[in-house]
Symmetry: C2
Subunit: 241 residues, 2 copies
C-alpha cells in the first residue's frame, strides 16, 4: 500500500508521500511516489500516486516523456484539464492490460493526486480516480488523501484548515504519515515532502526524511512524548478521586 496526501491552503500547497511498495509481504521495495513537473515561470505540477506499481510507473513515465517534448501538461490552460489528462493516460495504461487483469486476481487500478499552479490561476489539487474522473478540495475539506488514508485522517481533520501556514501543514502531514507508519506495515519511510508557495511558479521545496533524519525524528519524539503526557493529564473518572 501507500499513503499520500495533499493540503490546499491559501498560502499554497503541501504534498507528502511515503515510499514503500509491496506486492505481497515478501516483495517489499521503496519507490518514489511523488513526482514534479516544472516549467519555471509558467506552471508547476506535483503528482502523487497509489495503487498498482506497474500502472503508476507507466503513467508517470508517459507523462514525463510527453513533458520533455511539450505535450498536454505543458499546454493546458487549467489545472482541471491537467487532471483530466492524467486520468485519461491512467485509463489508457489500465486498458492495455485489462484482458490479462480479467484472468488474474490482481487489480491494475491506480489513484493519483495532482496539484500545482498554472500561470495566473489559483493553486489547486485534484484526486483522480482509477476511472479517470476526479474531484478537488474545498474550504471544508482542504486536503486529499490516497492509499491507506484512515490511520492518519483524525489529525488532519483536527488541524488542516485553509488559513494554516505551509510549515504547519507540512508538520501535520509528517505527523499524519508517522501515525500511519506506526499502525500499518505497508506504509514506510523515507517520506517525501514538497512545499509550494502560491504564485512561486518554480520548483517546490522538496525534502526527503528517513526514519532517523534529525528533523523527522525530532517531530516524532516530541509528538510521541507529548501525546503520552497529554494522555496522562486527562481528567479522571469520578471514582478515581
Amino acid at each position: 500500500m501507500t499513503y499520500c496526501l495533499a493540503a490546499s491552503l491559501k498560502a499554497g500547497l503541501v504534498f507528502a508521500a511515503d515510499t514503500r511498495t509491496n506486492a505481497g509481504l515478501d516483495h517489499v521495495n521503496s519507490f518514489r511516489k511523488m513526482h514534479s513537473l516544472v516549467w519555471e515561470g509558467d506552471r508547476v505540477l506535483v503528482l502523487l500516486s497509489a495503487g498498482n506499481l506497474a500502472t503508476t510507473q507507466a503513467v508517470v513515465t508517459h507523462l514525463q516523456r510527453e513533458a520533455e517534448s511539450g505535450g498536454p501538461l505543458s499546454e493546458v490552460r487549467h489545472l482541471s484539464d491537467a487532471a483530466d489528462h492524467v486520468g485519461q493516460v491512467s485509463l489508457q495504461v489500465q486498458r492495455k492490460y485489462r484482458a490479462a487483469e480479467d484472468m488474474s486476481a490482481v487489480s491494475l487500478e491506480a489513484t493519483f493526486i495532482l496539484g500545482g499552479q498554472i500561470g495566473d490561476e489559483p493553486t489547486g489539487a485534484f484526486l483522480i480516480y482509477p476511472q479517470g474522473n476526479f474531484i478537488t478540495c474545498s474550504e471544508e475539506q482542504p486536503f486529499l488523501q490516497i492509499g491507506e488514508t484512515k490511520y492518519g485522517k483524525p489529525i488532519l481533520d483536527r488541524i488542516i484548515e485553509p488559513g494554516l501556514s505551509l510549515e504547519d501543514a507540512a508538520r501535520c502531514a509528517l505527523v499524519s504519515i508517522d501515525s500511519t507508519m506506526r499502525s500499518n506495515l505497508s506504509v514506510g519511510p523515507p517520506v517525501d515532502l514538497a512545499i509550494y508557495p502560491a504564485g512561486a511558479l518554480q520548483r517546490p521545496r522538496m525534502l526527503r526524511y528517513k526514519h532517523n533524519s534529525p528533523y523527522f525524528a525530532s517531530v516524532r519524539k516530541h509528538w510521541g512524548e507529548g501525546l503520552r503526557r497529554l494522555f496522562d493529564d486527562l481528567p479522571r473518572f469520578d471514582w478515581e478521586g
Copy 2:
C-alpha cells in the same frame, strides 16, 4: 458501520462500543452493540458485535435465550469454548439466509469480540470472524478491534500495554472512539464502556456516554485542546528560524 474494541490487561478487561447503525445513509439508527451475560461468582461474558445488524441481533437474542435456561455459555469450561460457540451460532444464522444473500449485494457477515472470565481461568478476549473461527490477544497485541478500526488504532498502538490500569485503558478507548467518530460518520454516540476487574466474577462496571455527557465531553475537550497545543509546540523547520 461500527467501532468496538476490547483491551486485555493484567488488571482485567475494558470494552468499548459505539451505537450507530446504518443501512445506507437514509437509515441511521442507534442500537446497543455491547451485551453482557453474568453468572455471579461463576462467569462473566461481554459480547461486542459488528456487521450485519439482523445477523448480530439474531446471534445475541439466541445467546440470551439460551442463557436463560442454562445453555452452552453457562457450562463451557474455557473462554475459548465460549468463543467457539458464538462462532457456531453466528454461522448458523448466516447459513439460514445464505440462499437469499447470494441473490443480493448485501453481506450478512458479522464479527464479534467476546471477552470475560470463567471461574479460576485468567481473563481473556477473542475476536470471532464471520467464518466462526477466532483469535485472541497477546502481550504484544493486548487489544482487539472490530468495525471501523483504522482511525482509532494509532492511539491504541501508542498507549495500550498489558500493565496499564483499567481506568487508563478506558480513557484510551474513549479517545480512540472519539477520533473515529470525528473522522467517520458511520460511528456515533452514545458510547458504551464496560470495565471488568480480573477475578471479580460479577457484572462489570457499565457506563454510557452521550456526546455531551460531562466526563466524555471533558475528556474530548482536554484531548482536542491538548493536541492543538502539542501541535503548535512541535519543532520548527530550520528555515523557520
